[in-house]
């Protein structure tokens, strides 16, 4: 049952993409660790971490594609799930600092000492254990998505209204996390990490492993997403996107379908956030900013929604562009992003992958028609079949 579910995911282009991602997972760290810095093919650690960041963003975009591209739920708050996963990992990393902090308190992170707190708040307990933090990376975003989705989908909030409340959700969380007495480091967030599972987060080796893990997680989630979308459930999802009432009147519980997808997607976003934080070395409430969630929508749209691979390409390209632009012409980046979104919406509504797919399908149809035409000259009866 499970094996056929997974096997179905392994369609040609998914396999190719997974192979490329896994090759990157192997080659980039190898070049960083094994080649000398003088070698032309050597990838410096900061570039590797930057690419690792893109991979996390790609996973976030993939998660969004599952709900937006397939189920038609335009979430403008996916950054919140990403940030919560990031905070869960950040809390673990904070607890690992121990007495090496500025104030040298063995248990309390620096910001708590600074606020004159005497003991650890209850929700910080357990985060000294890696497995617990990993569980929370899935549980916290999943739970928020579950509660949010339970109410929203049951009351049949749809379309732009749903988008607005997801946006409000991430905004509310941002304001909450900015407050010092929330106990998450307020404005500054969580930073100054020392090590993860005993390995220094600054070391090249640790960075390389984190990079590889990001790539592996991205591939796993891609296979999972592909398995979901290619199953009968995935067809129902597209049905919900295109004709929700038809799905309902066929006897499906649309709210459960949406809830399952939303929660799965939120957990993927949480994983992305958890891998992101040790590579960039900080998580702060800015990650909850509504603009971040909207950017994810742009990456997905640019790459091609409803294609799974498109959002990955979109996230890498747009963020690559962002890194280049903010370096070369810092004041132009926002204009470029805006122009890109307008261009894609107007001229490539299906995004990069969608447009390429349509072109390929078109070429195939033209060829098939030509073949039918050629056959037609020999046997008239086949022409009728082909035309049908």
């Amino acid at each position: 049952m499970i094996s056929s579910f997974i096997l179905r995911a392994l369609e040609g282009r998914i396999v190719v993409t997974v192979c490329i991602i896994l090759a990157v997972a192997l080659l980039v760290p190898a070049s960083n660790l094994l080649l000398s810095p003088d070698n032309a093919l050597h990838i410096p650690t900061y570039v590797m971490s930057l690419m690792g960041k893109y991979l996390c963003y790609a996973l976030l975009a993939l998660a969004l594609d599952l709900v937006w591209g397939y189920c038609g739920i335009l979430s403008l708050g996916h950054g919140a799930f990403f940030a919560l996963g990031g905070y869960a990992m950040g809390m673990y990393l904070m607890r690992q600092i121990g007495s090496r902090g500025v104030y040298g308190d063995p248990v309390l992170p620096d910001f708590m000492v600074f606020l004159n707190w005497k003991q650890l708040p209850w929700f910080w307990h357990g985060f000294d254990m890696f497995w617990f933090a990993c569980a929370m990376v899935l549980v916290v975003p999943g739970l928020l998505a579950f509660v949010f989705g339970w109410f929203a989908f049951r009351s049949r909030v749809n379309g732009v209204y749903l988008s607005i409340i997801t946006q409000a959700m991430t905004y509310a969380l941002m304001l909450a996390f900015f407050r010092n007495d929330m106990g998450f480091g307020g404005n500054n967030g969580l930073t100054d990490y020392k090590d993860i599972l005993g390995f220094s987060v600054q070391a090249d080796g640790t960075r390389a492993v984190l990079f590889s893990l990001s790539a592996i997680m991205l591939s796993l989630c891609l296979v999972l997403a592909s398995a979901i979308t290619r199953s009968k459930f995935g067809k129902v999802l597209v049905g919900v996107r295109d004709a929700e009432s038809r799905v309902r009147f066929l006897g499906f519980r649309v709210e459960n379908i949406k809830l399952f997808t939303f929660v799965t997607s939120a957990m993927m976003a949480g994983i992305a956030g958890a891998l992101f934080v040790p590579q960039v070395g900080i998580i702060n409430p800015g990650e909850f900013a509504p603009a971040n969630s909207i950017e994810v929508v742009v990456w997905t749209a640019v790459g091609g929604r409803g294609t799974l691979i498109g959002p990955i390409i979109g996230a890498v390209l747009v963020n690559g562009g962002k890194s280049f632009f903010t370096g070369a012409f810092p004041e132009f980046w926002l204009y470029a992003l805006g122009a890109l979104f307008i261009f894609v919406t107007l001229f490539m509504p299906k995004g990069i992958v969608g447009t390429v797919q349509a072109a390929l399908a078109n070429r195939k149809a033209v060829k098939a028609a030509a073949r039918a035409q050629a056959q037609n000259n020999d046997t008239p009866s086949t022409q009728i079949q082909a035309a049908e």
């Binding site: 979901i228 459930f233 049905g239 295109d242 038809r246 309902r248 009147f249 066929l250 459960n256 049908e388």
Partner: protein, 252 residues
Amino acid sequence: MEIKDSKPKSLLYLDGVSVSFDGFRALNSLSFVVEPGELRAIIGPNGAGKTTMMDIITGKTRPDSGTVLFEEKVDLTKRDEADIAQLGIGRKFQKPTVFESHTVWDNLELALNRKRGVFSTLFYRLSGEDRDRIEEILGTIRLTHRRDELAANLSHGQKQWLEIGMLLAQEPKLLLVDEPVAGMTDAETAETAILLREIAKSRSVVVVEHDMGFIRDLGVKVTCLAEGSVLAEGSIDFVSNDPKVIENYLGR
């Protein structure tokens, strides 16, 4: 005994159903009965409450008052759309509503009356039995030759048939069909009448229609609605000669 006789065995039983939207009384104490295996046509002017009636039967709208019973025991006013669909009531919309980005085959596969939970659909595999059933329905709705085509590429009439096929796949006991021949060519209309009669052999069908020729083709009992309640009921000749029907509907 007498009490039993006055309330014959019913598949669908509506009694005194009323509903208002913002003060407008869409249904006004509507009562009627559909017997098992019956093919029934419902006519009436715009705003007579035909679509609202369907909304109530399928759980989309809750009535303000009245009784709606399915198979004499299930209170439909307490169930939602998914529940009611699983009980065995299928609904065809006025505008053909199929999954345009799926193939004809996939449309039918989704509609098949199988377990509809999240995990049963995630791990679903097409069995030989299901394949045969889909093939059979494809034959009934005359779309076998277009099975691998996207539903979006079908003609209007073919979409209507596909939707009817999806309802068949659902294996309903009662089929509600809203204006099946609107926008169809004459040939398609005639074909649809044959199709519906074929379908009604094994289940009850309620058809809402404006096309009087089509109803004559069907040759079944007709209920005429106006202003939210039943105006007349009987054969098409009986109903169309009723002075109230002429004044309210046919005369205009």
